[in-house]
Amino acid sequence: MTEDIKGTVKEYILQEFLPGEDPNELTDTTPLITGGVLDSIGTVKLVMFIEERFGVTLQAHETDPDYLNTIESISNLILSKRS
């Protein structure tokens, strides 16, 4: 389940924000927001993708880097919503 979530999120980020990037470069701990991969529009798009794809609703404060900065933390957030 965890790997499915991580894989799906990773695939989306590669396709949407890192076209042409070697998938091995994007790890579970690559900083996305503080590392300049996601700007404000990118973050909004990612939130919409997560909500739609995983059927969860993010609270306003959950759009912070605390929750969305890595694939690891995004996966944890989605899992916590589903449990």
Partner: protein, 522 residues
């Protein structure tokens, strides 16, 4: 127009008239009334004076946007110094350069930024005095820092400086084409003439609630701060995090009953697209002002349909003049319209003219560079006399005209329409971005041999920035590595949208990078 007054006098006049009104609201952190904000800023004035800050000095502000930050601005002005706000999210190296460049006497800084700042600054010279705050929020951290300093030795109370209207009030650093930011020097007269123009056109009331969306190092903040606090109104601080997140910003604007909104169009476009605006009540908004870049008409139309009540104004002007033209958006935006609205007519406190390449005025209908004269025009660029001189033309009567670099056309009704730039500056999220500064940042990467950055028009974002690079190695840095490198060396709004690697970059016959060819390749 009367412009002999100074910014902190406008504030103190409001304090005398509206001591109990709420001056600043910081959602989640509290609020402060005019009387208490005056006390806090006076205490900082006294402390800065005790530290040796005098009229004519510069004092840096390295804080997140907060009540503490607003009090710091007025404290610095009241001791007669000029404030120099920096982007706390920008690399410490850039902020140290700025503080060192204008030789600040002291810096009001949050402890979370102090260590990196100190390390970077010490490479440049002897550290200025740091008044370190343990965080920000509600003015408490500034109050605590002043209490702590008073415990050691109480700062004697001094008179607020009776500054001259031509004195420097603040320096705003903008992107520089040479790779280093440049400091735009603005006097009290520059700011007050603009603030008074806002009073005349927008008729603010003490019951108004202004948004403070722009960061304090961005020139849009001058309207937010100094117009609201001149009129006894409330200034509602929007934090950096919430300010870029339409999902959190949309409810905040409604809950805080904002009546005068002012921001760059980019966040308004995001609000229209993703903010679920139809779920909230925006009936309190009476003025919706935007500036800093072109507002794509399709997003403006969508926003107007969702929030139809306010009057919408497009304000235009570079940091060097603040707002110099304005245009009221018509209440009906035809479906067929796709071209952006004009930037409008000249503000009453300024004069404008359009000049051709030879420097002589062109007639209405012809393209030329917009030039501005009057009390709103900057004193110059800090420590860059040549650049300052290049920025102006002087007419036969000795009048100085600031050359905006913007190419415009004047219509028969007197409205100007923006056509483009005459140099390599673009606007992104309202910020000025010199493509040369991005190139200089990328050149610092050890593997990068050649860089060229171009801007391409984009319907969604206004412009997309594309970087072309070459490196001598077989394996070039990954996209993630490049973006991370950029985030450490450039403000986030300067990070290119895309990167492409080439063996070498195309050259012209004089062996310069061929930008025209790159645009064709993009």
């Amino acid at each position: 127009m009367e412009t002999r007054r100074v910014l902190h006098q406008l504030f103190d006049d409001a304090v005398a008239r509206y001591p109990d009104n709420t001056a600043v609201v910081e959602p989640g952190e509290g609020s402060i009334n005019y009387a208490d904000l005056a006390v806090l800023s006076n205490r900082l004035r006294d402390r800065l004076h005790a530290l040796g800050v005098r009229s004519g000095d510069r004092v840096g502000i390295y804080l997140r946007k907060s009540i503490d930050g607003v009090a710091a601005i007025y404290g610095i002005l009241k001791v007669g110094a000029a404030y120099v706000p920096v982007d706390p999210g920008a690399p410490a190296e850039r902020n140290s350069y700025i503080m060192h460049n204008c030789d600040v006497k002291a810096v009001v800084i949050e402890n979370r930024f102090a260590e990196k700042f100190r390390a970077e600054y010490e490479r440049l010279g002897a550290l200025p005095y740091l008044l370190t705050l343990n965080g920000t929020g509600g003015g408490r951290a500034l109050r605590q820092a002043l209490d702590d300093a008073d415990q050691e030795a109480r700062a004697p109370e001094i008179e607020t400086a009776s500054s001259n209207s031509r004195d420097l009030a603040y320096i705003l650093y903008t992107s520089g084409s040479t790779g280093k930011p440049k400091g735009v020097m603005l006097s009290h007269e520059n700011a007050v003439s603009f603030v008074d123009w806002c009073s005349e056109v927008f008729q603010p009331e003490s019951t108004d609630r202004f948004s403070s969306h722009a960061p304090f190092h961005f020139d849009l903040s001058i309207l937010d701060l100094h117009v609201s606090l001149k009129h006894g109104a409330a200034l509602v601080i929007v934090s950096e995090e919430v300010g870029k997140d339409p999902l959190r910003l949309a409810p905040l604007i409604a809950e805080q009953r904002i009546s005068i909104w002012y921001s760059a169009p980019s966040i308004l476009a995001l609000l229209a697209q993703f903010g679920n605006l139809d779920r909230h009540d925006y009936s309190t908004i009476r003025l919706l002002l935007f500036a800093g870049e072109v507002f794509p008409v399709k997003h403006l139309r969508a926003l107007h349909a969702l929030v139809p009540k306010p009057r919408y104004f497009n304000l235009y002007g570079p940091t060097e003049t603040n707002v110099c033209t304005f245009y009221e958006i018509p209440t009906l935006i035809p479906e067929a319209r796709t071209s952006p609205f004009p930037i409008g007519v000249t503000c009453s406190h300024l004069s404008s003219k359009v000049v051709g390449e030879n420097g002589s005025e062109v007639v209405a209908g012809e393209e030329g560079e917009l030039c501005i004269s009057g009390p709103g025009v900057m004193l110059g660029y800090w420590a860059l006399p040549e650049l300052t001189a290049q920025g102006f033309i002087v007419d036969a009567a000795g009048l100085h005209w600031y050359k905006t670099g913007d190419i415009v056309v004047e219509a028969s009704d007197g409205n100007y329409t923006y056509m483009g730039r005459r140099d390599r500056m673009v606007k992104r999220r309202g910020y000025r971005v010199e493509l040369g500064e991005i190139e200089a940042g990328l050149y610092r990467h050890p593997l990068v041999e050649e860089v060229a950055v171009i801007a391409l028009p984009d319907e969604e974002a206004g412009v997309k920035i594309k970087a072309f690079l070459s490196c001598g190695q077989a394996k070039h840095p990954s996209l993630i590595e490049l973006k991370r490198f950029c985030s450490e060396h450039l403000p986030l709004y300067m990070i290119p949208d895309s990167f492409s690697w080439h063996e070498t970059l195309p050259k012209t016959s004089t062996d310069k990078i061929d930008y025209q060819r790159l645009k064709e390749m993009a």
